[in-house]
């Protein structure tokens, strides 16, 4: 059970908002390292900790309040020019920020934050005093300031002059907590202040009072993770949805009236023209509404990006490299669920780039490159998909070495290796068990990452590819659909039955002509622009009987392979709204969609179909040759 029974909503709000705030602070800290005297930056960071402290107070999270308060005090002195940012104080500040994030982690699990590391608190206090952190850590917090300010507070009482003074004083030194306020302002409390329990219930409003046994377990809620399923939407966008629904209502009324007219026998040109107009209008409005609703799920990817510069900086520092992460296209909007699922893959790509992509300082100097390397994280929308780039200016990838490595690891055979071109060789890093680093570093881990990155991107219906230039750098390109709700598909037919395949996998459609089909090891293949591709029939993949000779092939590209999917005919493309089959999901079917004529179409999950080893065996050439053609070739 959680320490926050009855205040989950408040906690949720706090975590979302304070989390964003802390990411912002992290970024500003990276900027601060570059321009340590920027008053604006110092002020912003000060305000960040100050705001988090204020919210944490209402959650009764004393440890978090203490930590934020100390950090805030340090920034107060920094922004007032009483202290200046040094490498040592920067390290303390970063450690404090990390500790704040840890405490958010505790809150997310629904437990009160643990006590902050004593050494950290001591060095913060030392830094506030302007003492070098090393000696400060050894000395206990000097009590001098406490006495000084405590002595100062009686003066406050007597210093009152204005007419409001009495009132203001009683506000501060109010009955509830007479001295804590003054002490808190003066020196960070050594122990967490335990505010009266009342504060919690009060902050929650009526919720807590509604429940008689507040401290008892509250039932269903999982304490494990207070995960945020809510979304913050700009009211302007919601207004747009509301407007459109209103207009659709009006058009519906218009159609109702027209139906009445038509049913009562009016079918003159004017009525039909009005009907045509109303239907076109409805068409337009519905697609506008779909877009507007989709937009409510869209969030700027900057929210995700902003936590990376700090991560890149820390990694680079650990490895003794000088790396700057440059962000671009932060305003690009992407489905909220995707933002969350992209977080880990991008972290991994950044780690990989800093660790393996970027050369050491000496190697860079030898190659005549500037000592600071630039890592770019960029997002942009291209048509109906989103492209995310993680690009380094490092040494680039060596296809030959990658192949040798994969063979040495037993992931592929020598023969396979020799057939791979550069692009395919780069893709070897996505194989499970492939790790390029000779030694296992604690930065990039044990090579469990890249295959997981690709799997995660594929789960989002996306694709990842690698472009690399020796000596110039490597770029990982992630392609993602705008949303997971709508899937562009190609409709293909097997006999009279239509099926939908994701358009993202389709490279081209071509006719299958008998003289283009070759037999390689008992399997039918086709040569398309010099590339030898196996032919797999859709009937074979589905386990259906082949009733006629397939007339067309769809050139499909998955991350592992390209092949020609043989089909009877095709019926065009469509934007499918996927309805998932929750309880009943046949193998190889991702979901269903409805065509304009009301027919239900199965959307195929190609990956699942291809996973079946038997289906992958391919078919003999003869199965693709019409009867008389066979006679000629035989």
């Amino acid at each position: 059970m959680t320490d926050f029974a009855g205040m989950e909503d408040l906690l949720q709000d706090f975590l979302t908002e304070a989390g964003d705030l802390l990411s912002g602070v992290d970024n500003k800290l990276v900027d601060l390292e570059r321009s340590p005297d920027d008053r604006g930056l110092l002020n912003d960071i000060f305000r960040g900790f100050h705001t988090i402290k204020g919210g944490a107070g209402f959650l009764n999270a004393g440890e978090l309040v203490t930590l934020c308060h100390l950090t805030e005090n340090l920034f107060d002195r920094l922004r007032n020019g009483e202290l200046s940012v040094t490498a040592e104080s920067m390290d303390i500040i970063l450690a404090a920020t990390a500790a704040v994030r840890d405490m958010f982690g505790d809150l997310e699990r629904g437990v009160m934050p643990h006590v902050a590391d004593g050494a950290l608190i001591a060095s913060l206090q030392g830094a506030i005093q302007g003492v070098a952190p090393l000696s400060a850590a050894a000395t206990p917090a000097p009590p001098a300031v406490a006495t000084k300010v405590a002595a100062g507070s009686p003066q406050v009482t007597s210093a009152g002059a204005g007419p409001d003074w009495q009132l203001l004083m009683s506000a501060v030194t109010g009955a509830r907590a007479p001295s804590t306020a003054a002490v808190q302002a003066a020196l960070p409390p050594a122990e967490p202040e335990l505010a009266p329990e009342k504060i919690i219930s009060a902050a929650l409003g009526r919720r807590a009072t509604d429940r008689p046994g507040v401290s008892g377990p509250t039932g269903r809620r999982e304490p494990e993770r207070v995960r945020d399923n809510s979304i913050r939407v700009d009211t302007a966008r919601l207004d747009q949805v509301l407007n459109l629904s209103g207009e659709i209502g009006l058009t519906k009324n218009r159609l109702n009236a027209l139906r009445r007219d038509i049913l009562s026998g009016r079918n003159d040109t004017e009525t039909l023209h009005a009907l045509d107009l109303a239907v076109s209008q409805l068409d337009l409005l519905v697609s506008d509404l779909q877009n507007a609703v989709m937009k409510t799920r869209m969030q700027p990817i900057g929210r995700l990006f902003q936590k990376y510069p700090r991560i890149a900086r820390d990694l680079a520092r650990n490895l003794g490299k000088d790396v700057e992460l440059v962000l671009a296209g932060e305003d690009t909007e992407i489905d909220k669920t995707m933002i969350e699922d992209l977080s880990d893959p991008i972290i991994h790509l950044i780690r990989n780039a800093v660790d393996h992509g970027v050369e050491s300082a000496s190697d860079r100097a030898a190659a005549g490159k500037p000592s600071k390397s630039e890592l770019r994280l960029e997002a942009r929308q291209e048509g109906d998909h989103i492209v995310i780039l993680v690009a380094d200016d490092g040494r680039g990838m060596d296809a030959e070495r990658l192949r040798a490595k994969a063979v040495a690891k037993g992931l592929i055979s020598e023969e396979e290796a020799s057939t791979l071109d550069e692009r395919q060789s780069y893709n070897l890093v996505f194989l499970p068990g492939f790790s390029m680093a000779e030694k296992i570093s604690d930065v990039s881990g044990r090579g469990v990452g890249m295959d997981v990155v690709r799997t995660n991107i594929q789960k989002l219906n996306g694709a990842i590819e690698i472009r690399s230039q020796p000596g110039k750098g490597t770029t990982f390109v992630i392609n993602l659909p705008l949303t997971l709700a709508i899937l562009p598909v190609l409709l293909v037919r097997l006999g009279a039955q239509p099926f939908a395949v994701p358009l993202s996998m389709v490279r081209e459609i071509l006719p299958i002509e008998p003289n283009m089909v070759h037999d390689v090891g008992g399997r039918a293949t086709m040569v398309v622009r010099g590339e030898v591709l196996p032919i797999l029939t859709l009937s074979g993949l589905l386990g259906w009987p082949q009733e006629q000779v397939p007339g067309y092939g769809v050139l499909m590209q998955t991350t592992d392979m390209a092949f020609v999917l043989a089909i009877d005919s095709f019926a065009g493309r469509e934007d499918a709204v996927i309805k998932s089959l929750d309880d009943f999901r046949p193998k190889g079917v991702a979901g269903v969609t409805t065509l304009s004529n009301g027919q239900i179409v199965l959307i195929l999950d190609m990956k699942e179909l291809l996973a079946d080893g038997n289906a992958m065996q391919g078919i003999p050439r003869s199965a693709l040759i019409p009867a008389q053609g066979e006679a000629v070739s035989g």
Partner: protein, 133 residues
């Protein structure tokens, strides 16, 4: 004592905090609450619609609470508006600055509904005495 018709403007850049204050006010019987995320937005809202009470945070981007307070006191049509400052700062200088700028009250985070009720009570009392209300 609570006049449920009183229109409150809660100013804070942290929406969680606005929600806390809104809930506390609701608990005290004040349901007519609008929100603004900084001093500049607050001034726009004050100019657009009548309010009876301003509850503001101190530390905010764009325009902080103290500047908001000073602007309110300088503007003829707002100058009698009660302004309650809410902040995590309990420093002497801050309280003096708030008092000198004409804050009607000052309250330190975190606080309870009872504390808030007490502050509001005092402010209403004083307004009643001076005949401003």
């Amino acid at each position: 004592m609570a006049d449920p018709k009183l229109r409150f403007l809660v100013v804070d850049d942290f929406s969680t905090m606005r929600r806390i204050v809104r809930n506390l006010l609701k608990e005290l019987g004040y349901a007519n609450v609008d929100e603004a995320e900084d001093g500049a937005v607050a001034l726009q809202k004050l100019n657009a619609a009548p309010f009876d009470f301003v509850v503001t945070d101190w530390n905010m981007p764009n325009m902080d609470g103290l500047t908001l307070l000073q602007t309110i006191r300088r503007t003829p049509q707002f100058k009698h508006l009660p302004v309650l400052m809410i902040t995590a700062e309990a420093k002497k200088e801050n309280i003096i600055a708030a008092a000198q700028s004409g804050a009607s009250g000052y309250i330190v985070k975190p606080f309870t509904a009872a504390t808030l009720a007490e502050k509001l009570e005092k402010i209403f009392e004083k307004m009643g005495r001076s005949g401003a209300a």
